[in-house]
Amino acid sequence: MLDYTTKEIKERSALVVNPAKTCQPIGAMYAALGINKCLPHSHGSQGCCSYHRMHLTRHYRDPIAASTSSFTEGACVFGGKSNLSKGLQTVFSVYNPDIVAVNTTCLSETIGDDLTEIIKSTDLPEDKVVIYANTPSYTGSHVTGFSNMTKAMVSSLAEKVLETPTTTVNVIPGYVEPSDMTEIKKMLKLLDMPSIMFPDTSGVVNAPNKGKYEMYPEGGVTIDELKATGDSVATVALGSFASEAAAFELEKKFDVEPYVLKTPIGIKATDEFLMTLLSLTGDVFIPEELEVERGQLLDVMIDVHHHYHGKKVAIFGDPDIIIALTEFVIDLGMIPKYVITGTPGKRFEREINEMFKAHGLEDECIVKAEEDLMTLHQLIKNEPVDILIGNTYGKYIARAEDIPLVRVGFPILDRVGHSYFPTVGYKGALRLIEKISTAILDKYDRICPEEDFELTM
């Protein structure tokens, strides 16, 4: 159906066709859902809130509650103050959250609402909390929005009450699945490491079905935990785009030492994550269970390395995820032919180019930030790849060019499992190999000549 995509690539400066990103507020909303008993509030027109809830609902297949300031012309002329004040009062009296996390939209940003002032002048119940993040849709992407709301959690709530820091480590998982957050928590637990993870959407957007609707499922980081982040000994920020802003804020305010690492996707990034944690505790040994997991991962990597080695792959999605993914596929012996993110940032290209260079791939592989899927499709038309890794939107290219698509990232609108099975850690790497390998072999079984069709592979 995307056969309108031409092979010839023309320079485009004003037009985006089939974006590889979306806007800030949805990222902020997702982050806000990672606080226990939090109702996200969208300060703008109803449509934004509706779209964000709809998109998150499609991806997580769970009810996503969020309120809106319901802007109309009046608010645009006179400002959104009364809408927000009234909205907050309504929210607390009817939906009774512990905390409301307000995100702005392009509309409220453009008319210049001063949220600090509005929130301060609103009569709120005493024990309730309101935080906010500026998330104009015309800067950055959903990843920026996630980062801004995560930073707002720190700047509005973190405190330092103890003279010497605790042994607790703050962990910011980044814009990943709830299943990934559970996996990260599992690794922290195995290392016996006291930690505060925020935001934490596990148990919130993949809540168990108990036959009743809970507006605030059990999961999420608590307000008290967020307050205590200022007393922690260090912050481990996973993925610089989504997580380092909050980590740096904690450093700036309370001198909590930041460690910015890759999202622990793949064997190397997971090793690095665990070793960093070990360096913080002063322990030397990796727990047996993680040793076993790593060993099993390695075993499978060896078992099937001939399937994916030398295969060309196109990867697109959010920068933190695909930086780690690119490293992993290189470690698997694959060739990351095209690496594309829609999120702006020269740093992304720099980091990927360094990886290319380190492995002698700089002449054959292409990396682009602020790009769209039309360009990716055109690149593939000019020189095909064996496999595509990215979100659901990749299915148009996959169908047009008959390339298997492995779904990783946000959003995944047409498959289940992502919110329950991790991509991070050794377990996640194992799952990625299974998916990549299966996708390649499935296609081979489907298209290979009769004489090559075999029982064992």
Partner: protein, 466 residues
């Protein structure tokens, strides 16, 4: 949430208990209460869903990236030929465009579209922020139309300027500006336009097939599987029939003024409505042959369909449905369609229903039915529990709510995968109701109450009897 009624003071007049003796009414067609978890969307959303199935136009969203991202190919409208409408085009406005204006970027984007695709028509949709910074979309569109000798049409759809149905109106204006002059025609056949079918899962094709069989020609479907050429030619029909009243009545009225084309309301949901509508169209033609053919078609299809429905109806006895959909007209036709298959509606709500539609809903439903305007998840949950509904009909956001409550769910929105209109749709519909309400999955959720086990036993009994 608590089991107590949690209806906002400001919302009490938007909730109505149907009591026949009292002639009470419901508040509607008003702005949502700020802070309520409304399920409504915006003007842009309305415009986009109505216009998007113009398959060979380029739909360019002038605004930040989100507006085009969230509406990228979510309509489920099928096309018989071109599929350009399934791509997502945006000017992806950045901060500097917001400060210095986005007109230059829009002009450049139009140039780039023309360079790569040379389409006949580009629809340029205004979004919230564009309305606030005041870009002159009409000016740019005029300029570019002239320059490239194509039609560049502005869709005035700034999100905040009303609600979803104002977006429908904006779409109607865009369609009108695409329509050309009425030609003097010597057409002898009865030619109609079919308004308010978006060809979800191929629904418009089903209706066109019925019409073809009885000898009625369809000029253009708006906007299901429609092309710019067909829309340009829309003024040359004898009649407009309108299915989705919420989005298309306005256009029908405008076309009546502009082209002197009368219009008539129809509904193709459910056996009764479908049969009545085909009969109605045949009568409009004033052509004996058409009327005869219509009668034959109806007789054949109604018998065939009812025979299938009967088999399933046994398994659905005593079930109750809660309806929460976008427009009032859809709610009305759903009430009737469920009644056709022996299921009573215990809750009926809409996002944007009108006064007269609510009156009709009140007349159609039984005493004790809860009627809701612009409701939210908490209210829905409360009334679902109170009424003991077994099925919820709604859109994307309602689905997981239903599932968490252990309720069967029917998607009657953009994302349905099977056509639900016409006779074939009536069969699909009952199959879908049966599939969800009689799924064994609910027995696991209802274990504690024991209700589930009873349902399961009933299900097995019915299955044996089939």
């Amino acid at each position: 949430m608590s089991k107590d009624p949690i209806i906002l003071e400001d919302r009490k007049s938007f909730v109505l208990l149907n009591e026949k003796k009292q002639n009470n009414t419901i508040d509607c067609e008003k702005d949502s209460v700020s802070g309520a978890v409304s399920q409504r969307a915006c003007v842009y959303c309305g415009a986009r869903v109505v216009l998007n199935p113009v398959t060979d136009a380029v739909h360019l969203i002038h605004g930040p990236i989100g507006c085009s991202s969230y509406t990228w190919d979510i309509r489920g409208s099928l096309s018989s030929d071109e599929e350009n409408y399934r791509n997502s085009y945006s000017t992806d406005l950045q901060e500097e465009n917001i400060i210095f204006g986005g007109e230059k970027k829009l002009e450049a984007a139009i140039d780039e579209i023309v360079e790569t695709l040379s389409p006949k028509v580009i629809f340029v949709y205004a979004t919230c922020v564009v309305g606030v910074i005041g870009d002159d979309l009409v000016g740019v569109s005029k300029k570019k139309s002239k320059e490239h000798n194509i039609k560049v049409i502005t869709v005035q759809s700034s999100g905040f300027a009303g609600n979803k149905k104002d977006g429908y109106k904006a779409a109607c204006h865009a369609l009108l500006s695409l329509m050309g002059e009425k030609k003097k025609s010597d057409e002898k056949d009865f030619v109609i336009n079919y308004l308010g079918d978006f060809n979800l899962a191929g629904e418009a094709w089903i209706i066109k097939k019925y019409l073809k069989e009885i000898g009625v020609k369809t000029n253009v479907v708006m906007t299901g599987d429609s092309t710019c050429d067909q829309i340009e030619n829309a003024g040359n029909s004898q009649y407009n029939i309108v299915q989705c009243a919420g989005s298309m009545t306005y256009l029908a009225k405008q076309m009546q003024m502009k082209y002197n084309i009368p219009f008539e309301q129809v509904s193709f949901f459910g056996v009764t409505d479908t049969a009545n509508s085909i009969e109605k169209i045949a009568l409009l033609s004033g052509d004996e042959a058409i009327m005869e053919k219509a009668k034959a078609l109806i007789a054949r299809e109604v018998d065939k369909t009812n025979a299938i429905l009967d088999q399933f109806m046994k398994r659905l006895r005593g079930k109750k449905v809660a309806i929460y959909v976008g427009g009032g007209f859809k709610a009305i036709s759903l009430i009737k369609q469920f009644r056709d298959i022996g299921i009573e509606s215990v809750i009926v709500g809409t996002q944007t229903g009108k006064k007269e539609e609510y009156k009709k809903i009140r007349d159609l439903t039984d005493e004790g039915t809860i009627i809701l305007d612009d409701t939210n998840p908490s209210e829905l949950e409360y009334f679902i529990k109170q009424t003991g509904a077994d099925i919820l009909v709604g859109g994307v956001k309602e689905r997981p709510l239903a599932y968490k409550l252990g309720l069967a769910f029917i998607d009657h929105n953009h994302e349905r995968k099977h056509p639900l209109c016409g006779f074939v749709g009536a069969v699909n519909f009952i199959k879908e109701v049966d599939l969800t309400v009689n799924s064994p999955v609910w027995t696991f959720i209802n274990e504690q109450g024991g209700e589930g086990y009873e349902q399961k036993e009933l299900y097995q009994l019915e299955r044996q009897s089939l």
